[in-house]
């Protein structure tokens, strides 16, 4: 029974090392689809670029109460909005894998129990980072400028992407729970829309009716956008950054275990 002893031996390394190597395999697999289906990348970048241009030129003149250049105010909001909208793809991708029977295969393999989800959320984070870069370039063409130093600028982009990563785990939980591609698409998006628009992403909170301001100020998107904006505009970054990180960690603490549990039970 050499295979059995070998299996037992191999079983010992079901640990952090396995989680790492399996997650790398899964991330690579998910990222391969972008060079293989180039149109996918084109279309997942067109929408955020469209938002940059539409908001700048259509709403830019009408939205008041913004000190300074509107595009400088807008772009941090678009960073966060793009990362959050992008995170809804996590659940859709997982639902697709489930639909194709791939999740069933992964679950029958002696691989790490959370690597499939880690691979998916990380690869979506990588894509988000790429898209945020691209938007920065488009932003620069229409007059956007970072006001801080390079570290602040990188931190701004990274915070937006990390926030999207946390939302990816909510999306993963939804995708593993609803069990159907179309439902995952709708269920993943419907709550994200008001969350993003009823925030400080596109307009100053002060311009909203009073009852909405209270909600908007507590919105995790608002605190994150405020933190990203402070890093971009080189204004005081506290306390927004702490609120944002608290939300980020809180979301991960709740939704990572929930998503992994849903994965283990998914059939």
């Amino acid at each position: 029974m050499t295979t059995v002893t070998e299996a037992v031996r191999r079983n010992r390394d079901m640990s952090a090392g396995r989680l790492w190597s399996d997650s790398v395999v899964m991330t690579k697999r998910n990222l391969l689809k972008y060079p293989r289906i180039p149109t996918l990348l084109v279309f997942s970048t067109i929408q955020p670029i469209m938002f940059v241009l539409l908001f700048t030129y259509v709403f830019g003149g009408a939205i008041g109460g913004v000190s300074g250049n509107y595009v400088d105010f807008l772009l941090p909001g678009i960073f966060a909005q793009t990362a959050i909208f992008g995170s809804t793809q996590t659940g859709v991708g997982l639902a697709e894998d489930m639909h194709k029977g791939l999740i069933e295969r992964y679950r029958s393999l002696p691989m790490s129990r959370s690597a499939v989800l880690v691979g998916r959320t990380v690869s979506d984070g990588v894509r988000n980072f790429f898209v945020v870069w691209l938007m920065t370039i488009v932003g620069y063409l229409v007059g956007f400028r970072f006001h801080g130093n390079i570290l602040q600028s990188l931190a701004a982009m990274l915070l937006a992407v990390l926030f999207g990563f946390a939302f990816s785990w909510i999306s993963a939980f939804i995708g593993m729970t609803v069990n159907d591609v179309e439902t995952a698409q709708v269920a993943g998006f419907v709550w994200v829309f008001p969350l993003t628009f009823a925030s400080s992403a596109f307009v100053p909170v002060a311009s909203m009716p009073g009852w909405l301001q209270g909600l908007t100020k507590a919105n995790p998107v608002t605190v994150t956008v405020d933190a990203v904006r402070a890093l971009v505009l080189n204004t005081p970054v506290t306390p927004h950054i702490w609120y944002s990180l608290a939300w980020l960690i809180g979301i991960l603490l709740v939704f990572v275990p929930l998503a992994v549990r849903a994965y283990r039970r998914a059939v």
């Binding site: 295979t3 059995v4 079983n11 190597s21 002696p110 691989m111």
Partner: protein, 332 residues
């Protein structure tokens, strides 16, 4: 020690009893066919044995590992090819195998080697670097089967391996599976095709509504139905009932009607029954398209044991779906 041992396993989905007190003991190196219509509980059984689903009560081991307490060890020694070819369309054939090998914990070089040798073995070497989305249905199934063998499994589970394949691909896959079994792997196979179980399995378990209703070799099961039958195919379906009436006294028991045109007459002897039947039908003015004496098929077994047929019709009747599945409509 059996390769698969199942003792009193039950599984409910809410009110629905998907498996009811199942017992199995499968010898190493043999092929076990789990035969039943859609929703009988076949897939539930496979999912429990491959650790995809928890059992409600009872105990089950595969290759000596308990499904509930030693799931990780168990996953090292099994291979599973599910009902639908679980292959990644974006990746090439080789990348699919290599990835599964990496996930079994093999290093890069060994994973690459397994990718090459398995593609060779399943005659996919020519399509090695093509994306799987360009593969035919039969090629996908072969790749899926190859992926299930990456870890050199002691016990292999194939859940309806030929469902949805055209006849030619099905026969080719049967050959492949037979070669595989010659290598000494224990195989559990589920199928709704009686012919498939008959051809591939050493022992067959018949499952219906979550219960194992009969078990044995193909011959033993056929023996349960009794002896040979004279099968008549009537040219005009409206005359089928009249034909059954006409041959009432030809066989050893009353004839039964199966399907629109088929009359089955149990016989105890071959002597004279064909001429008797032909005379009786000719006298009644009934024309035949076919007649033959045959040993009972597994379909007859199913009919006798359950009172309904095993294939297609069973799926369409009003029985509730006991295996909740994701929607996969229109995929093939």
């Amino acid at each position: 020690m059996g390769a698969i041992e199942v003792e009193g396993v039950s599984k409910n989905f809410g009110e629905l009893c998907a498996l009811d007190n199942i017992n199995l003991d499968i010898e190493p190196g043999t092929v076990y066919g789990l035969l039943g219509p859609n929703g009988a509980g076949k897939t539930t059984a496979v999912r429990i044995l491959t650790t995809l689903l928890d059992l409600d009560s009872g105990r089950a081991t595969v290759a000596g590992f308990d499904v509930a307490t030693q799931a990780t060890q168990l996953r090292h020694v099994i291979g599973l090819a599910g009902q639908y070819a679980a292959v990644d369309e974006i990746l090439t054939g080789w990348e699919n195998i290599e990835m599964v090998a990496r996930l079994y914990g093999f290093n890069r070089r060994e994973s690459a080697r397994r990718g090459d040798s398995l593609l060779e073995r399943f005659e996919l070497a020519d399509a090695r670097d093509r994306q799987v989305k360009t593969y035919s249905g039969g090629m996908r199934r072969r790749l899926d089967l190859a992926a299930s063998l990456v870890g050199d499994p002691e016990v292999l589970f194939l859940d309806e391996p030929t469902t949805g394949l055209d006849p030619r691909s099905r026969f080719a896959l049967w050959d492949t599976i037979e070669q595989l079994v010659d290598g000494g792997t224990t195989l559990m196979l589920t199928t709704q095709y009686l012919e498939e179980a008959d051809r591939l399995a050493h022992r067959i378990g018949v499952i219906d509504h979550g219960e194992l209703i009969a078990e044995g070799t193909s011959d033993e099961l056929k023996g349960k139905v009794g002896g040979d039958v004279l099968a008549l195919e009537i040219a005009d379906a409206s005359q089928t009932a009249a034909a059954a009436e006409a041959v009432r006294n030809v066989g050893s028991e009353a004839p039964r009607i199966e399907g629109a045109n088929d009359v089955i007459v149990p016989v105890s002897t071959h002597v004279g029954v064909i001429t008797d039947a032909v005379r009786a039908l000719d006298a009644a003015g009934i024309k035949l398209t076919d007649l033959a004496i045959r040993r009972p098929t597994l379909d007859d077994v199913f009919m006798t044991l359950t009172g309904h047929r095993a294939e297609a019709e069973a799926a369409a009747d009003s029985e509730p779906e006991t295996e909740p599945r994701r929607k996969r409509g229109g995929r093939r």
